[in-house]
Symmetry: D2
Subunit: 339 residues, 4 copies
């Protein structure tokens, strides 16, 4: 069993803790959290382990082989760097870092140290994403034309991220997993309704060399929770509605007839053209698969599908999009001052 | 009864014909259409009227008081101009014209001639839009923060419009009706999947001086038909799902608590916070209200809510967005040639 | 073209009229209705035909070949008998008659006269029922175990039928079409909430020799309109939700594993076990198919799938169920008098 | 803290265990289960308690104040009787007993011993049932006319109960809670598809003195899971869809207009008449409330809303319904032998 230290015992940290406890591959021996209340909560669950306010007591502990980091994003870099320098494998909550420069350095030093650096893009281990990935690779839906995501809900305002950094990593990790290419264009716009400096709605549009377009509708301001992605292929289309228990994924046998350019088709609209197929997607906690994958990667049995390089690519896109948001907010404020 | 000539007897023309036939205020005396098949279809329904291939036989007929135009958009300007010059009231299918310059001229000459120029923004006469408009004006949902529209379906590729000109006018007319302001920023991106020169997906983002943001997700490439608009207010939120027969409009009693800037709220997410209210929205054909409105405006009893000035404002936004799309397509092609 | 007289120009009569007008096989030459208002409504649509208050002017007219009857059910028998005696083919709105004795006589005399007697069980000509029928016959879902129908909505209280006679004929005609057997047991219970003598809710359970059970939940008292039938087969199950535009029929690949009797299975429940397939069911007006079928049956080209014999079998079941309701209401009232 | 022994550590027993562990009012000191595997599962969670195969070691333990029974129903009576005789408070999983005679004896001896006897009708402590109960009592929906329940899903075949005893207790406990009366008539029919002797579908109809009718559609044979109850009132109607996360309860402002008997109304049907209101029903685990209630009842601070008398009334109805099912199955088999 790999001896594990967990840093951060908030919302996601408790999920990691629970899954680590149930895993036959990992043994939690230490938890660090700055909050006294959280330390009091975890103590009874770790009768023989160390519970400490200091992250360094985990990153420096020679008995620990793997460090899990579930702290606010601004602290990821320093904690992860310390752990890597101490020769530990590191598992970091998404998004990987606050800047691409930080992420690059982590990738570099992990590589030099020969340790595993993995980013917790949990969605990749859901049955839904695995099914979608296989379906696209099999060629069943034809060439992918578009990815259209609505990821909206009410709240969970967090102190150190905006809606872009909170929600976009899910889509970006899925896109990185599905596509063998990086976006050549990133358009973005964001809006601050609650806190003047913290976007709570954002629209992101990514253009890829192969002409795939990805659009992300991200919001903390929606009264309804939606987790819905449409994948448009040249021969079929696919919709993943993650909140639909009965039909999580639907495959629409409704390709657009591609017409020769000189004949412009007039297609009578219908609710749909063609049958619908909805595969059974069994529920399971994705973190179980994540834990197994991590153990296998550390053991050298699998190559990672959520390594630091992927985490870095995602942070690069977030950074680009954030730059656009910042310029836009700047411009809006300039206008606002005159009006 | 006002004597009416109808030019164009295609999909929308037949709807206009049917509603005109049932209206006690209008009397159809002539129909023009270039298609022999369509003329043959309408002839039996107009035993005592004139059916002709020539639009000019309608626009020049001294016995006709009102001309309805339901032809392809590229022909709107010339037909409408001829009708206005002949002193007729004119009713034009949306969008009003292919360019803002054309629309401006129509507004100008209609004003000079003293005739009514009305654009068929039918949605304004649905019970749903009227309910939404009253609710927003009453202050019930607080200050409007965002307008988020999904208007997606499969097909109806048309020879002379792209998805932007086909679908956006609906949202633009509703926005023009709800807001007392014009957008100060128009971002757009569009994609061609079927015909290389004809966008079949487009995203449009409009910024308004009062900080309202409007986002339009427009597509002819979706396997599922969606007609859904979310209106985010500071105290309540509202969703109009036009295809939901039972609950067309839902009002969510779930405002975001606006926090003082130094206190950043952490709100635990839930599917919703607060109750939901769904008013009864009786079905009725909006064109019935459109016809009445037109008759009242001609009679001088009402001022128009869909006059040429509104039509012009909408064409201006479409034109701006199209310019962005064109530049973008140009740029993509340039990239494509090198790759 | 067959010359047609229509008796009854109410809700259903107008539907029949519209479809007859569009049919190339029928020519409406006369309409009878006791209501002056309805006669005034139909007159302009029948400029060269006869409009009369007297059913006999239609049933006795030697120029008429087919009589359509869409009057209140209590009058079906007499009008149909007169038409049949005059040698006309007869098409009767469902349910066929108010009693099985009446229905038997009509079948008998139609047979003797050699005329076609058809009952308007329109549902049999919907694409949904035809798809379901073929699917069951193909063996795809295995042996049919149950038929569970919810046919509930608010209102349409009618002067001369209760909820049983209004709604059950739809299910009974579908059952008669799908099964090659008649029920051996009919259980029923009914409830009067609005009018003391007119059940507005009823539950009907039919047992068939092959162990199929059919259950009908019928109501005029439901705030929500539901038209949903589940078909349970030994290998698959099928749900027809007639109000679901996108997925009218779903086939669940979720058969119950039939266990040897000595091994009682413990199956962990799940939302479903297996995939779902939803065939495209194009919309079309079923009456178009009904009209074609009638013309073909009259021409001797098809044998009828909704003939008098079927209508009679359905009235027999209604009569049995009504008898149970009457006894039950009697018993309840007896109890009520003592309490 | 009350010292607790739990007998039965299967599906429901583990839920009880988890809630007891979290409750500040109870202290689990012993668990009995005949299965070695289950004992091995619970042992680590109860380091200082007794884990035993023998129920008697729990019921006879003088240190235990409350016995929780979550064993197969056939054993409820004997275990509960032993516990009561030893002077313990007893909490029994639903349904209370296999026969009304057993339930009567438990009520009698618990009363004589002066101990609390409570039946685990957990639904009564859901926020949904509490909201519904208050709404009906407030008079908001008028007089209750009907209760129409669909409680259907796939499987969970259990060795010692049929679908009636498995699913009906939920509805019967809710009905007993909402109505101040007992049914005067119980109609039932059941069907065996998987095991010849074990009904897996059942329809139950209950008539109450005040004319309320309750109908239960119970099935282990449905491909779709449904948990939906409609409550029809004279002025409003209410639907509880327990699987709808966003709108668990909807109140329809759509009363039927009650007509004077001599005027039979013809109401044009619509999808609904009137607005819909959906209150926020926060999620919470009902067992938390159950535990609190039990502690309060034992402490004499509350009178029980799920005492033995209620459990007994429910078993009486189950027994009556089972008798009908048995006669029916008998009759069907008799017929089957001749055919």
């Amino acid at each position: 069993m790999l001896r594990v230290g967990l840093i951060g015992y908030g919302y996601w940290g408790t999920n990691l803790f629970r899954n680590l406890s149930l895993s036959p591959r990992f043994d939690i021996v230490a938890v660090a959290d700055q909050s006294e209340k959280r330390r009091a909560a975890v103590q009874p669950l770790l009768p023989n382990g160390r519970v400490t306010p200091l992250a360094s007591e985990v990153t420096d502990d020679p008995d620990i082989a793997v460090v899990f980091i579930a702290t606010p994003i601004s602290s990821h870099f320093e904690i992860a760097r310390n752990a890597i320098r101490s020769g530990k494998h590191v598992f970091v909550e998404k998004p990987m870092c606050a800047t691409a420069a930080e992420a690059e350095e982590l990738v570099y030093i992990a590589d030099r140290q020969g340790v595993v650096l993995m980013i917790d893009h949990t969605y990749l281990f859901t049955n839904a994403v695995q099914y979608i990935s296989e379906t696209i690779r099999s060629g069943e839906i034809g060439r992918l034309c578009y990815y259209d995501s609505s990821r909206i809900n009410l709240g969970l305002f967090q102190p150190d991220v905006n809606v872009l950094w909170d929600l976009a990593p899910h889509d970006l990790s899925i896109l990185d997993h599905l596509l063998a290419e990086q976006p050549i264009g990133v358009a973005a716009s964001g809006y601050c309704h609650v806190n003047r400096h913290l976007p709570d709605m954002a629209y992101l549009t990514l253009h890829y060399p192969s002409n795939v377009v990805a659009h992300l509708n991200l919001s903390w301001m929606s009264p309804v929770k939606v987790r819905r992605i449409a994948f448009g292929g040249t021969s079929k289309m696919m919709v993943w509605d993650d909140l639909n228990r009965e039909e999580k994924i639907k495959i629409y046998n409704s390709g657009i007839q591609f017409q020769p350019e000189d004949r412009r088709a007039v297609i009578i609209p219908d609710y749909r053209i063609g049958d619908i197929y909805s595969p059974r997607i069994p529920d399971r906690e994705a973190l179980v698969g994540v834990m197994e994958h991590l153990a296998h990667v550390i053991a050298g049995k699998e190559s990672s599908i959520m390594d630091g390089a992927r985490g870095l690519r995602i942070v690069r896109i977030l950074e680009k999009a954030q730059k656009v948001l910042d310029e836009e907010l700047e411009a809006t404020r300039a206008v606002g001052q005159h009006s």
